[in-house]
């Protein structure tokens, strides 16, 4: 009896759960096979190191001796006793606050100019995009260093108009602004994203607005801008995070010093100096986590305020 029912159950079961479990088993197996490279990389090269650097940020570590736990010392030093950290924060925030809005305004203005199917669009788009593509390389930073040198191109052009320009790069009052100009020069990629966004706006909205006699300016503020807010939001977040992470231009322009008088000391450059110049790995890890915190707070804040100004199509 017992064996019969058990046998019955066994005989009945495989039909359904057997196939199901085989499906799951095979599916999981294949899934994790394909996921394996990423999973190893994620655990070994991203998550593990991230946690390790969180731990290191509470230590004193010079690579030679093993890390010595110092509690909050690194963070306290940052907040109270490190003038260079304060300088790096100031420089980075000025850079972000100036370069991101300027870049986006240029990007939007040119995307608007192109929007109505202008002749030669591929040519202009290529010309404006090229700086974005090349801008991150050392070559462009080298070029910038020459452009804004005392005897550089900018001053040569100014002298044609009888203006005797300063040495932009080596004057702490101006040096940071040369980097802002360099960033704004690379407005091409947000411009392409704006162009794609503009193309999503239904043309009949403009036709209806034209019928009602709405002016171009009114159409811009009432139709284009509101419908473009998701793209503006997106560009704003991405560009801001990128600006916080900028490194190469400040390194090349100041020959790795962040000078003159720390005026081009980007946050990432300071982190680099602490880690690979002075081998203060604990302190540099703390700097990295503060950067994460800044970016996280900024991103969270952006998303929280987004619902008050970003228009989402329901």
């Amino acid at each position: 009896m017992v064996s019969f029912t058990a046998g019955d159950a066994v005989a009945r079961r495989p039909a359904k759960p057997g196939r199901l479990s085989r499906f799951f088993f095979a599916g999981n197996g294949a899934g994790y096979m394909f996921l394996a490279p990423w999973l190893i990389g994620f655990l070994g090269l991203t998550l593990g190191p991230a946690l390790a650097s969180l731990y290191l940020s509470f230590t004193d570590y010079d690579l030679l001796q093993s890390p010595r736990f110092v509690g909050m010392d690194n963070y306290v030093r940052m907040a109270t006793g490190d003038a260079k950290f304060a300088a790096a924060m100031k420089v980075t925030f000025i850079y972000v606050i100036l370069s991101v809005p300027l870049k986006l305004i240029f990007a939007l203005a040119l995307a608007m100019a192109f929007n109505r199917g202008i002749k030669g669009l591929p040519f202009y788009r290529a010309v404006f995009y090229l700086p974005s593509l090349l801008g991150g390389s050392v070559a462009i930073a080298v070029l910038w260093r020459q452009l804004f040198a005392a005897d550089g191109l900018v001053n040569s052009v100014l002298s044609v108009f009888g203006i005797d320009g300063p040495s932009w790069i080596s004057n702490p009052n101006y040096s940071l602004y040369t980097l802002v100009v360099l960033s704004v020069w690379q407005f091409g990629s947000p411009m392409i994203i704006f162009l794609a966004g503009l193309r999503q706006i239904p043309q009949d909205m403009y036709e209806a607005a034209n019928m009602d006699g709405a002016s171009k300016a009114r159409q811009f503020f009432r139709i284009t801008l509101p419908l473009l807010t998701p793209v503006i939001f997106f560009n704003f977040v991405i560009q801001t995070i990128d600006a916080f992470k900028a490194f190469t231009p400040s390194f090349i322009i100041s020959a790795g010093t962040g000078g003159p008088i720390n005026s081009t000391l980007f946050y990432t450059l300071y982190l680099y100096q602490e880690a690979f110049g002075f081998f203060r790995m604990g302190y540099a890890s703390a700097l990295a986590w503060v950067l994460v915190l800044i970016i996280a707070v900024f991103t969270a804040f952006s998303f929280l305020t987004a619902r008050y100004w970003v228009h989402y199509d329901e």
């Binding site: 995009y129 090229l130 080298v142 040569s156 392409i192 995070i241």
Partner: protein
């Protein structure tokens, strides 16, 4: 057609659109010129005779053309730029192969396979998109130092084979999701393994996105400065970007010609990619909206 459409709004004279487009085009050409001027000036600076560089020189046309600066720059360091170019090329190609292979395998898992914990891992993957690399930098450095990989190319290449750059996964997931599901199902019916579906169906249909990923990967690796800066100590293993930096250090800012010449050369590969694959680059940016 166009004229009729433009003339349609009441009160618009036919001349206005023409004047309007002349104005727009002159403004755009003006801005284009301003944007390109520094680049053109660098190219012209690289072929000028040394004494032609200064003294309020603003013209794009050199008084005479010479390749002297290219020769000085090329042999400006104890190792020639030829080595740096080969190193950069090798690292970029190896990194690109790694990125494309690893990211496509991962994206295939996320977009076409069902497995336990998929959405959990997917959320974590998206989380790493925004994570600044500084936060993994130091422990990674320590790890590679302990493995004796510092001063080799390995730290610049090997991580790419583990899909550490989530951007490429994201890019490919977007594309793979657009491929019709019926293809997989039909193949599954025929007893195709997941691997065969990936290799024989998904990959061949995804050449555009694979090319886009490869192009971005190559450009970013080629332009990368930070990685080589911390990992490559021996001049024989330098990339072009680090070589340029050393050239600044060794010649100071006295020899702009040589610096410009090597800078121009370092941009040529990217410029060629831009010329030939512009459409893919622009579509890649427009669809993912990420990075450069």
């Amino acid at each position: 057609m166009n004229d009729a459409a433009h003339a349609a709004p009441p009160g618009d004279t036919p001349e206005r659109p023409i004047l309007h487009s002349v104005l727009i085009h002159s403004a755009l050409i003006g801005v284009s010129f301003l944007m390109l001027y520094p680049l053109l000036w660098m190219v012209s600076g690289s072929v000028r005779p040394a004494d032609d560089m200064f003294g309020g020189q603003t013209s794009l046309i050199p008084s005479q053309v010479t390749l002297q600066a290219y020769k000085t720059g090329w042999f400006g360091l104890q190792v020639s730029f030829g080595t740096f170019f080969l190193n950069s090329l090798a690292i970029s190609v190896l990194a690109t192969i790694g990125n494309v292979m690893a990211a496509s395998v991962t994206a295939f898992a996320f977009s076409r396979l069902e497995f336990f914990g998929k959405s959990f891992w997917f959320a974590l993957m998206l989380g790493t998109l925004m994570l600044p690399y500084h936060v993994t930098l130091i422990p990674q450095y320590v790890l590679f130092l302990k493995m004796d990989w510092v001063n080799t190319w390995l730290p610049l290449v090997v991580p790419k084979y583990f899909a550490v750059d989530a951007f490429f996964i994201f890019l490919m997931v977007q594309f793979f999701r657009g491929l019709p599901r019926e293809l997989d199902e039909a193949a599954m019916m025929d007893g195709c393994s997941a691997w065969r579906i990936y290799w024989k169906i998904v990959l061949p249909l995804s050449l555009p996105v694979l090319a886009t990923a490869a192009i971005f990967s190559f450009i970013w690796t080629w332009e990368d400065f930070f990685g080589p800066l911390i990992y490559l100590g021996d001049i024989h293993s330098y990339t072009v970007q680090i070589g340029l930096r050393s050239l600044i250090d060794s010649s100071g800012t006295s020899d702009w010609g040589a610096l410009f010449a090597m800078s121009v050369l370092s941009l040529i590969p990217i410029f060629l990619i831009f010329l030939f694959f512009q459409r893919l680059l622009i579509e890649g940016i427009a669809t993912t909206g990420m990075k450069r």
